[in-house]
């Protein structure tokens, strides 16, 4: 096992302006095989200039890794302006201690990210595989598509310990999302596959869905007026109402399933 510790230097975010740092170049697969000096020399974008990782982060490396799977990156410090953590990562592990900025785990295909705090918008955007655990809240557009695309998350597993923002799982086509708290409006918007479970409440879930499955264990506020009630069913010993929709997409395409307790 190898642990790479990256601790953001305090002075980087202590000025008037809190300028974000993009760390999509700091994934286990990209750092695998590099020694401390080499990692310090990896370029990251800070605003409109490229900087050395070592100039922005305190870097330390412990242990050896025989494969990417054995690489774990631990990110510390004020990560609230660190964007693209684990963006595109293929394997290995990232642990981010604290709140992280946008696009955490975007386009990841494998490996595991654990956020010990909240994740800002677009976490798990276009995720293809792997696991993303957010212990706190997730912002808007969790596991959604990029602007203009018609496919969001297609695979992998995401767990949010707290609440999720607007449009979680938009255009989701596969994979699983579990949200332990509540979700804001339009969870599973345009969803066409995969599974979303909300343990708390949801507002207008399932709008324009054409496939996939959403289960709301709490209350549904503002149920969509374009879903058809088709009967009741039992899930884990509890009775749920089953709806299909969204008929606003025409009956032919309305293949989404929404379970409401």
């Amino acid at each position: 096992m190898q642990t790479i510790r990256l601790k953001l230097k305090e002075e980087i975010t202590s000025g008037n302006a809190k300028i974000p740092i993009d760390v999509d170049s700091l994934t286990p697969d990209k750092l695998f095989g590099k020694n401390e000096a080499e990692i310090k020399a990896v370029k990251v974008w800070w605003g409109n200039r490229e900087e050395n990782t070592g100039d922005l982060f305190d870097v330390s490396v412990e242990g050896e890794a025989g494969s990417v799977e054995e690489v774990k990156i631990v990110m510390e410090g004020d990560l609230s302006r660190v964007k693209h953590i684990g963006d595109g990562m293929k394997a290995g592990e990232i642990e981010a201690i604290g709140d992280v900025d946008m696009h955490c785990g975007a386009m990841m295909t494998g490996g595991k990210i654990t956020v010990r705090g909240n994740a800002d918008c677009w976490a798990g955007r276009e995720m293809r595989g792997g696991e993303l655990i957010i212990e706190g809240d997730a912002g808007d557009n969790l596991c959604a598509m990029y602007r203009g695309e018609m496919t969001g998350m297609t695979g992998g597993k995401v767990t949010v310990g707290g609440n999720a923002g607007e449009c979680a799982g938009q255009y989701m086509a596969g994979g699983e999302i579990l949200i332990k708290g509540n979700t804001s409006i339009l969870t599973g918007l345009n969803m066409k596959g995969g599974k979303i479970t909300i343990e708390g409440d949801a507002v207008m879930p399932g709008a324009d869905m054409t496939g996939g499955e959403i289960t709301v264990k709490g209350k549904v506020l503002d149920m969509m007026p374009s879903f058809r009630f088709v009967g009741t069913t039992t899930i884990e010993g509890e009775e749920y109402k089953k709806y299909i929709g969204d008929l606003a997409m025409t009956e032919k395409r309305a293949k989404g399933v929404l379970y409401v307790r």
């Binding site: 809190k18 409109n48 200039r49 677009w122 602007r147 203009g148 709008a207 007026p225 374009s226 009956e251």
Partner: protein, 433 residues
């Protein structure tokens, strides 16, 4: 006295181009054919008189050269500069602004991000079945204003282009047409309507979905009341939509800025598509500033994207909500800002203004406004459409050239930006040596 005809109004997205203006002693003395607000703009009012730089909290008058140099130094040094505004100037200036943004690795954003940005995001999800305003004038027999109150905000809109206008198949004006208004309160426009649907605040999304279900024939699933509107009224609306030969939905900030935001517009467009399975149906945003459509156009053909474009890596990355001006400022991301032809001081949330007070701010504008009160560099300009000419895009994306009516000593936006760009390049070249 000189009379100038076919003058183009540089106020709102209607871009009326049939105004008649009288000019005497290099001053506009009379305006015919414009609405009251347009007339007031064309007649002119208080100006920023001189370029100025803030020193010890006070603005000190200076030369254009000095202000431009100062502005360039601020921008060249910045790590995350924001260039914002662009909707009340001409495309020629917008182009230079984009080049400047590229040169300094800035985020360039325009006022769409606080008005019809949600409409653009919606178009990126589903597209926009639309038309020019003349199509509406000649053909529309059903006009729907949703969350828009043209009687107050776009005074000539109904007369020139929609409900009251007369065209080829609508020779008798409003006698040939029906008007539906959807709003949370009974506005002046709503009072003229054949049908007024009073909707509960924030429930637009639900109502659009209900209309779609009804347009596709699934009456059985729609509840008795949706968003405060009885089902029978929705059914009546759907009947009118289906029976129309040519329907148009105009929507305003009442839909783009309530709960659901850009997804309300996605749903409005989806409703239009559903109606289009029965008859001709179109939809159009009621754009505010006279050239907000134009900066979206220029920014799109030059960078690939219409607003909120981050050029920090030398290529364009686009993600409104992340790179839009208010988000950047509330998150305290920027370390310098340039505002042109816009007034964030009056229109941005308090949190973002507090951040602006801490970073260097450059203002380029003909008129003093709340932004002037905290700007570090203030550069006055010629008024486009009165003192300077150039291209603008009407709300339906029709390009029209603003005319120059009087002479001025003020520099035009385009020239100021070109000079700043030159200075920035000179600074960078020096740094490179």
């Amino acid at each position: 006295m000189v009379e100038i005809t076919d003058v183009v109004c540089s106020l709102c997205g209607c871009v009326c181009d049939d105004i008649v203006v009288e000019v005497e002693d290099n001053k506009v003395t009379k305006v015919k054919g414009a609405c009251a607000v347009g007339k007031s703009k064309l007649m002119g009012h208080g100006r920023i008189e001189s370029p100025a730089i803030r020193e010890n909290g006070e603005l000190r008058d200076c030369s254009y050269d000095e202000a431009i140099k100062e502005a360039a130094e601020i921008l060249a040094a910045a790590r995350r500069p924001l260039l914002y505004g662009w909707s009340s100037t001409v495309c020629e200036a917008d182009k230079v602004g984009i080049e400047l943004a590229e040169e300094i690795g800035a985020v360039i954003d325009n006022t769409a991000s606080v008005c019809h940005g949600p409409s653009v995001l919606a178009i990126q999800d589903v597209g926009l079945p639309s038309c020019t305003l003349g199509e509406v004038k000649n053909r529309a027999d059903l006009v729907i204003y949703w969350g828009a109150n043209p009687a107050a905000a776009h005074a000539n809109h109904m007369k020139r282009y929609s409900y009251i206008s007369k065209g080829y198949w609508t020779e008798e004006g409003k006698k040939n047409k029906k008007l539906i208004v959807v709003d949370v309160r009974k506005t002046a426009t709503a009072k003229m309507a054949d049908v007024f649907l009073q909707i509960e605040q924030g429930k637009d999304y639900l109502v659009f979905s209900a209309l779609r279900a009804l347009l596709y024939g699934y009456e059985d699933v729609v509840p008795e009341v949706v968003g405060g509107i009885p089902k029978k009224d929705l059914l009546e609306t759907v009947k009118m939509m289906k029976e129309a030969k040519f329907g148009i939905i105009f929507f305003g900030m009442g839909v783009t800025h309530t709960r659901g935001r850009h997804n309300n517009i996605v749903n409005a467009i989806q409703t239009t598509r559903a109606a289009h399975t029965h008859t001709k149906f179109n939809i159009m945003p009621m754009r505010g500033h006279y050239n907000v459509a134009g900066i979206n156009q220029v920014c799109t053909w030059e960078t690939g994207y219409p607003f909120a474009v981050d050029l920090s890596r030398g290529y364009a990355w686009y993600n409104p909500g992340e790179q839009s001006a208010t988000d950047l400022l509330i998150r305290r991301e920027c370390d310098a800002a340039l505002f042109i032809a816009s007034d964030p001081g009056a229109h941005f949330p308090g949190e973002s203004i507090r951040h602006l007070a801490k970073i260097p701010v450059i203002q380029i504008d003909p008129f003093p406004n709340p932004t002037t009160e905290f700007a570090n560099v203030v550069i006055p300009t010629a008024i486009s459409g009165i003192e300077a000419e150039g291209n603008v895009y009407r709300m339906d994306n029709i390009p029209i050239r603003l005319r120059k009516l009087v002479d001025t000593e003020y520099m035009a936006d385009e020239e100021i930006l070109e000079r700043i760009l030159e200075e920035v390049r000179a600074i960078k070249e020096k740094e490179g040596e």
